[in-house]
């Protein structure tokens, strides 16, 4: 994977990226922007060259479909007037609860004409909807200098791994990545980072853990008095897998699946040593977690941390907003953020989360064109910074993560950006049965956390469950 200057950037599947690479890429991207900016100014002066024409589709209305509950719609709603002024386009936003939104997307994409012009797609669903050929290819739009501002800076300003998840897709071969762009990362991305209590670690003289052995050691040492060493989403909840288990599994170098979907050899690897080790680590951590961690959802875990009852925790970087905010966290000034631990020789690989905005294929050309203008606006660098600064949803662009002013205000921002570079996509996101698989695994691992079965049993049960589902779906013989 190479960026526009031919620099080797993150290899999305197997190796991690260290800080140096990240900064190098960021600097390169900034340089590229400067170059492009100079060139476009020069070009604007020449009368014949096409230049960015924001008002080309003025007078249209663009309808956007987002998910509710993540504050995705807030920034757009604030900027409706500005969009009207800059692009001359009226914007209408609909935000639905996740289940309803997914259902709506299905019906809208299969209708003769789509009701919505821009649709936000959960990463897990990308292989289904984009792979199903239901979205418009965006390459021509991006390359079109009249429709795309020079400073848009796609793809360099986006984490490379994210582009191979919620942006580029190889429809012919049903794989993520490739050259064809169907989505732009937005409205929010996000990965998992580690939160820790600076004061507690300092008092006990423990450095910030860099690998999983150190993590559990630190958690045990810090499990004193009213404070629990660590916490997790231990309940019967998909986030158990996404946040806590996968962070360990991927960082320990685990490979979840072998084979290819549809080729009848897509086999899960949940009984391997790495899988069992990661479940065991969860069990060990549960012993130094607050009582009842086996019933913890996302909220309970974050609440415990924000109340000061937990020393170390992994969580989606989006909660950093509330954890560092004195209005919602009693320990706002005492916490730090870092990359999740890695293993002996690798850095941490948290899960890659995120959404991608797309323009449905079943639209007349004019609506698609107008949609692109708005899409550009809401995925632009300025808007990304605005949305983050006001609503603390995870940024999509490297520029935002690296922004000095924002970093001063939100000290965890750089860490979150790094996580976005290192993050690893969940392998099974390739098939529509993702929810079912993750749900079943969550049930089994939850039973291990509450002590009803051992790590080995949990993994064996999950493996059996997954094989049954995969066989039913035709991915496994």
């Amino acid at each position: 994977m190479k960026d526009i200057n031919g620099e080797s950037t993150v290899d999305s599947i197997d190796s991690g990226v260290n800080r140096r690479n990240f900064l190098k890429v960021g600097a390169t991207a900034a340089a590229a922007t400067a170059v492009a900016g100079v060139t476009s100014v020069g070009m604007a002066e020449s009368a014949t060259a096409a230049s960015y024409n924001p008002k080309k589709f003025a007078g249209s209305t663009v309808k956007i479909l987002l998910v509710d509950g993540e504050r995705d719609q807030n920034g757009i709603k604030d900027k409706v007037a500005d969009i009207q002024k800059t692009l001359g386009i009226k914007v209408e936003v609909t935000a639905l609860a996740l289940g309803a939104q997914l259902e709506k997307i299905q019906s809208v994409l299969h209708a003769p004409t789509s009701e919505y012009d821009i649709i936000d797609n959960l990463g897990f669903t990308v292989s289904g909807v984009v792979g199903g050929g239901l979205y418009t290819k965006l390459n021509t739009y991006i390359d079109n200098k009249e429709l795309t501002a020079a400073k848009y800076n796609y793809p360099a300003d986006f984490p490379a791994g994210q582009l191979d998840y919620t942006s580029r897709y190889d429809v012919a071969n049903n794989k993520f990545g490739g050259k064809d762009v169907y989505l732009i990362p937005g409205m929010h991305s996000g990965s998992v980072i580690m939160f820790y209590r600076k004061d507690l670690l300092a008092a006990a003289g423990i450095p910030v853990p860099k690998n999983w052995e150190d993590y559990i050691d630190a958690a045990r040492k810090l499990n004193v008095g009213a404070v629990s060493g660590t916490s997790m989403i231990g309940g019967n909840d998909v986030s158990l897998i996404l946040v806590d288990w996968y962070a360990r599994f991927a960082s320990m170098g685990g490979k979840l699946m072998s084979g290819t979907p549809g080729a009848k050899n897509y086999k899960p690897n949940l009984t391997g040593a790495t899988a069992v080790r990661s479940v065991q680590h969860l069990i060990d951590c549960a012993e130094v977690s607050p009582k009842g961690v086996g019933s913890f959802g996302f909220t309970e875990s974050v609440d415990a941390f924000s109340r000061g009852e937990v020393a170390l925790m992994l969580c989606w970087s989006t909660i950093a907003g509330s954890a560092f905010n004195p209005a919602t966290s009693k320990v706002a000034s005492k916490i730090g953020a870092a990359q999740i631990p890695g293993d002996a020789n690798t850095s941490g690989r948290p899960i890659r989360g995120g959404w991608g905005l797309g323009i449905p294929k079943n639209l007349p050309q004019k609506r698609k064109d107008a949609a692109w203008m708005v899409m550009q606006y809401i995925t632009s660098a300025d808007f990304d910074k605005y949305q983050f600064d006001n609503y603390q949803t995870d940024p999509n662009r490297r520029g935002t993560y690296a922004d000095a002013a924002l970093n001063k205000k939100y000290p965890y921002l750089k860490v979150a950006g790094q996580a976005m570079e290192n993050a690893k996509m969940l392998d099974v996101a390739l098939i529509p049965e993702t929810f079912e698989l993750v749900g079943e695994a969550a049930r089994e691992f939850n039973l291990a956390i509450i002590g009803s079965q051992t790590a080995k049993q949990a993994c064996a049960n999950a493996q059996a469950s997954w094989e049954k589902i995969l066989k039913r779906a035709g991915h496994l013989a």
């Binding site: 993540e70 259902e103 209005a327």
Partner: protein, 261 residues
């Protein structure tokens, strides 16, 4: 007393709605009330999350549904209860068994039918299925009340030359009034809280009913704002509470006036 168990969670709800997010987790919560926080919480629920508009929507929809159900259901109950038409037992049992179906199974067909009729995402799109949900309940409650009235009254009226409609409207309805009220109340309660169908039929924010708006309280990636949830609970509870207190007077009135002996 049992009353305490019932009331306690509700009192907790009220109390929680007055707290800031950061104070949740104090066990037991302090009883001190900071009114500026109260204003903030209620303002967010009523305005930012538009609970005023969703409550009005729910009120409109529930009222229409209940009225239509009662209008259609009362005569039906009358027939099934008192008129000896063949198969009335079977019909009434079938109507009751319509209620066996889990809403999960009919949600998708209903959604598709409403789209087919082009009333998806409108109030009518909710009213139509909701009436279908309420009819079995209403009919069965009313059958129960109709059954209690001795048939001599019908016979007397018939001798006087009244036809069935008149018997129903002028003689029986006044007697079954408490039944109508009870049926209306129960139908309202169930419709007020229905959310599975609503979530899928309604997209527009301005048309959301209260239960649909509630779904916005939960999200996979943000901590639940317990205090806001509690405020939502209070806001949705109070109108119904007031309404039921007002209705109670009528029930008692209806029952005592209907006890013709």
């Amino acid at each position: 007393m049992i009353a305490l168990v019932g009331i306690f969670p509700i009192a907790y709800l009220f109390l929680l709605s007055t707290k800031r997010r950061i104070d949740i987790g104090d066990a037991p919560p302090s009883l001190k009330i900071d009114w500026s926080v109260v204003v903030d919480n209620y303002k967010e629920v009523l305005f930012d999350r538009s609970y005023i508009s969703s409550t009005i929507n729910t009120l409109i929809i529930t009222s229409v549904v209940v009225i239509v159900s009662l209008l259609i259901g009362t005569p039906a109950a009358y027939v099934l209860s008192r008129l000896k038409i063949k198969g009335s037992e079977r019909i009434s049992t079938t109507i009751l068994s319509l209620r066996f179906m889990p809403p999960v199974a009919v949600a998708v067909p209903i959604l598709l039918s409403m789209r087919f009729l082009h009333v998806a995402n409108t109030r009518i799109g909710l009213i139509i299925p909701y009436v279908a949900f309420s009819l079995p309940l209403v009919i069965w409650i009313l059958i129960g009340f109709f059954d209690e009235i001795p048939t001599e009254i019908d016979e007397a009226a018939e001798i006087d030359g009244a036809n069935k409609w008149r018997i129903l409207l002028q003689v029986l309805v006044p007697l079954v009034r408490p039944g109508i009220v009870v049926a209306g109340i129960f139908a309202s309660i169930f419709i007020w809280n229905e959310f599975l169908i609503g979530m899928y039929v309604i997209d527009a924010e301005s048309l959301k009913t209260v239960p649909i708006a509630d779904a916005g309280l939960i999200s996979a990636q943000r901590p639940i704002d317990w205090n806001v949830a509690a405020t939502v609970g209070v806001v949705t509870l109070v109108p119904l509470l007031i309404a039921s207190l007002a209705i109670q007077k009528h029930i008692v009135q209806g029952i005592t006036s209907g006890a013709v002996k």
